[in-house]
């Protein structure tokens, strides 16, 4: 498998997009840390921008990469290699290179300007989000053979997780405001990896005091090691489910 990952990585590195992405994140992080007064403020603004751009770039890059390496995969399937191996190499190649870009672009500035647990959570969340959205991108790509349709589905997924979902949650909270919704919101949060990541980082900042009862509940749950453990398990599930589903679809289709 390492052999194929090597060629996938080689192909991605030659592609200048990944370098541009690293520089973009680097500029963004350094700029935000220098703009705000306290490192906490910088982290907060960074969190909001990261949760918007990282999913978008991951899902769009993942989908276009998958379609562009169609020939590469076609060449490999007639060779004595398992199909699932080809698929996993592509997946790991893309997610690892995007994660590396994130580590350099966000990880290093965070380490310099705001070292600590919150920064660590921010970097971890970003890496999880990268893996999750590349997995969703591959899922969108194996569903349809048509590149335009695939990218359309990918963008729709991004819209859903980054924007529409929050709208739905707000709607539910507003309509059922008379009922106790603490646990329901907890479940709703787990159903969207972007929100889950946001809550995990926010609770480590002092702003959670402004989140009312739900914030207190979150704090009591996510504040404990146990709660953090569950959050990570949910994140891992968010990676595994789309990866395994798309791997299965990839091994069962005609090329």
């Amino acid at each position: 498998m390492n052999k194929i990952i090597k060629y996938v990585l080689y192909d991605i590195v030659r592609n200048k997009i990944i370098v541009a992405y690293t520089l973009f994140l680097l500029l963004l992080s350094i700029g935000l840390f220098n703009l705000g007064g306290s490192p906490d403020k910088g982290l907060l603004s960074l969190l909001n921008l990261v949760l918007l751009t990282v999913p978008l770039i991951s899902i769009v890059f993942g989908t276009t990469h998958f379609y562009n390496s169609y020939e590469f995969m076609e060449l490999l399937v007639s060779q004595p290699i398992r199909r699932s191996k080809i698929f996993m190499s592509e997946y790991l190649g893309v997610s690892l290179s995007l994660s590396a870009a994130f580590m350099i672009g966000v990880g290093i500035p965070v380490l310099l300007f705001a070292p600590g647990a919150t920064g660590l959570y921010l970097v971890l969340t970003g890496i999880f989000i990268t893996f999750i959205f590349v997995a969703l991108a591959f899922l969108a790509s194996v569903i349809t053979r048509d590149k335009a349709k695939g990218i359309g589905i990918a963008l729709l997924l991004w819209f859903y997780f980054a924007l529409i979902y929050d709208g739905i949650v707000l709607f539910i909270l507003y309509s059922f405001g008379d009922y106790p919704l603490e646990y329901a919101t907890l479940v709703l949060t787990a159903l969207n990896p972007v929100d889950l990541g946001r809550v995990m980082v926010l609770l480590n900042l002092d702003v959670s005091a402004m989140m009312g009862y739900t914030g207190a509940l979150y704090k009591s749950i996510f504040g404990s090691l146990w709660g953090i453990g569950i959050a990570f398990v949910v994140m891992v599930l968010w990676v595994l489910v789309p990866v395994l589903a798309s791997r299965r679809a990839f091994t069962k289709r005609d090329l």
């Binding site: 192909d11 020939e71 076609e74 399937v77 007639s78 060779q79 004595p80 290699i81 398992r82 199909r83």
Partner: protein
């Protein structure tokens, strides 16, 4: 060497292969003919595991190939239209495939030499002409000394000299006991290299016979006429 048993494949509601049963043995060149869309390429891709059949089985030396992959080290495949990653150079493609098939005992670089591919090693795949891509495909198919070669319209894009080189190579490998499956529309070429002709029409086997017996029972000197005769008389 290869046995196809009751193979069926449909794409949506289009039936491409219908209950196809056929056997091929080593040391033979088998030409697969048939009208466009009769399932020739689909059959080859099924053998390679690129297309997964709906039902039926394919056995390679007695063992089913479905869901397997290691058997492909014994198959060399030359696709109809070679698709390669555009930004890789010829050298990188060849090195990559060699890297993947590291355990191959013999490396046969005869075609690379005969086609002078070394001189073009640093050209990108995307900038190559169709014919040159075909040469790369041919060189890769023969490189690892496989027992079976599947050549999908091998000479379609090649110039006459390169086509001749390929035909010589095919006959040479046949003498070494290999099974070579060729799909082709050019009857003169079929007559030149093949021992047997297998004809597919609408995904079913029309006939599978040696060239000499076809000529004998149709009383025709030329293969193209003999085949035309068979096709017409059964309609």
């Amino acid at each position: 060497m290869i046995a196809i048993e009751n193979l069926s494949k449909t794409y949506g509601n289009l039936t491409v292969l219908k209950d196809l049963t056929v056997r091929f043995s080593g040391g033979r060149v088998v030409s697969i003919i048939g009208p466009n869309g009769s399932g020739k390429t689909t059959m080859s891709k099924c053998i390679l595991g690129m297309v997964l059949p709906d039902s039926g089985d394919i056995k390679f030396n007695g063992e089913s190939v479905l869901k397997q992959y290691a058997y492909r080290s014994q198959i060399g495949y030359m696709p109809q239209i070679g698709k390669y990653p555009e930004n890789m150079k010829i050298r990188q493609v060849i090195e990559m495939i060699r890297d993947i098939r590291k355990d191959a005992a013999v490396i046969d670089e005869e075609l690379i030499g005969l086609y002078g591919l070394q001189n073009m090693y640093d050209k990108r795949m995307g900038s190559l002409s169709g014919g040159t891509k075909q040469k790369v495909s041919a060189a890769l198919a023969f490189m690892f000394d496989p027992q079976v070669l599947i050549l999908d319209e091998p000479t379609a894009g090649l110039d006459p000299i390169s086509a001749e080189i390929l035909k010589c190579k095919i006959l040479k490998e046949k003498k070494r006991g290999k099974l070579i499956l060729i799909t082709s529309h050019i009857m003169s070429e079929v007559e030149e290299v093949a021992d047997e002709v297998m004809c597919l029409v609408d995904g079913t086997l029309k006939f599978h016979e040696t060239i000499s017996s076809i000529k004998q029972h149709t009383n025709e000197e030329r293969l193209s006429r003999a085949i035309a005769k068979i096709m017409n008389e059964e309609d």
